[in-house]
Symmetry: C2
Subunit: 208 residues, 2 copies
């Protein structure tokens, strides 16, 4: 583990294994991608998908920040899932349950059109398995207008907190104060078809 | 609006008003805070709360990144709420509905103990109104061990996408392909009291 990605704060929550990283990335829709522009940080959200050993980001070829992300500069991509509010008998010991990961590195531009098309289809299928084969494929123009950046999963750290509050022992006599976890759950609402969808066409099922 | 925070990509989705910013911040639990460390970006998640005209971040005095955030260096704090998957008849026109905001600036350290205590209580009450008065207050030692950073809401941009897919007109004849929005909803699960909570003590109600 490189020193720069070693977690010093609450190190018992740190994880450096790919299994934990993949679990966090595969549950997330958005990665927060930081770059340095004119000496200052810029953090923007991007739809993300882990494909193999890379985190795939995509967007318009004209998107300023994504061209910077893909331009050979250091990048930090961070993902966090908030799993619950952890309520202790003091604010100091209250917390959140979460799964978080940060990847540091330099992204490559995916320029080979065959690989680019394969990755963009895989991004669709990561959300909705099989959908890329059902919808209209990318035109050459769309492929050219899309920028695909791939960040290798080589330098990363993850951090996980789970379970109930860890109160100071002397606070636990206050049994009239509710302590515990209020879970936060992300789920899908009822699908809303648009006017161009024929009656009876089933909504695709989502996997995250 | 300063040039550095002007949104060029899909500018019709851009918002620069405080009402939109506040709506996004007040719905979020976590801000992704970027700083530059040794020339490279570092993005870490922090629990956040908007109190008045500032975004309040807090953590341990010994947390490396938070001390950098509060150390007078340029900061970018970004928040995004994903509201749904937008499924078009092509991958190119598929999208997500979201509300996002990015704040640029320099954070101040809140060092006055009275203000610091007031802000930390307000952070608790932003999640659970009235809870700071019910739980055990901060000790002097806890107050000293906590770092509070306040980022002013002066330079920011927001971006909002809502509604259904915007397909290419020629794709709309494929009425057998489902198109529309699959909403993403964040909600609370059943509260899980810990062993130190007396039977019958009601769980606090959360407001976000």
């Amino acid at each position: 583990v490189p020193a720069s990605t070693t977690i010093r704060r609450l190190a018992d929550r740190a994880r450096y294994d790919r299994a934990t990283l993949d679990e966090v990335l595969d549950a997330a829709y958005v990665a927060y991608v930081g770059v340095v522009v004119d000496g200052a940080p810029v953090v923007l959200p991007f739809a993300c998908a882990r494909i193999g050993d890379e985190l795939i980001l995509h967007g318009s070829n004209r998107a300023g920040t994504l061209t910077t992300v893909a331009g050979g500069t250091p990048v930090c991509a961070t993902v966090t899932l908030v799993d619950g509010l952890v309520l202790a008998r003091s604010g100091f010991h209250s917390s959140m349950n979460y799964r978080s990961a940060a990847i540091h590195g330099v992204a490559r531009i995916v320029s080979d059109p065959v690989e680019k098309r394969r990755l963009l289809d895989a991004v669709v299928d990561r959300l909705l398995p099989g959908r890329s084969a059902q919808i209209r494929g990318l035109t050459e123009g769309e492929l050219e207008a899309t920028l695909v950046a791939a960040l290798p999963l080589t330098t990363f750290s993850a951090k996980v907190r789970s379970g109930g509050p860890k109160d100071a022992p002397e606070d636990l006599s206050a049994t009239g104060i509710w302590g515990g976890v209020i879970p936060l759950v992300t789920s899908f609402g009822a699908p809303i078809p648009d006017d161009a969808t024929a009656a009876g066409v089933p909504a695709p099922s989502v996997t995250r």
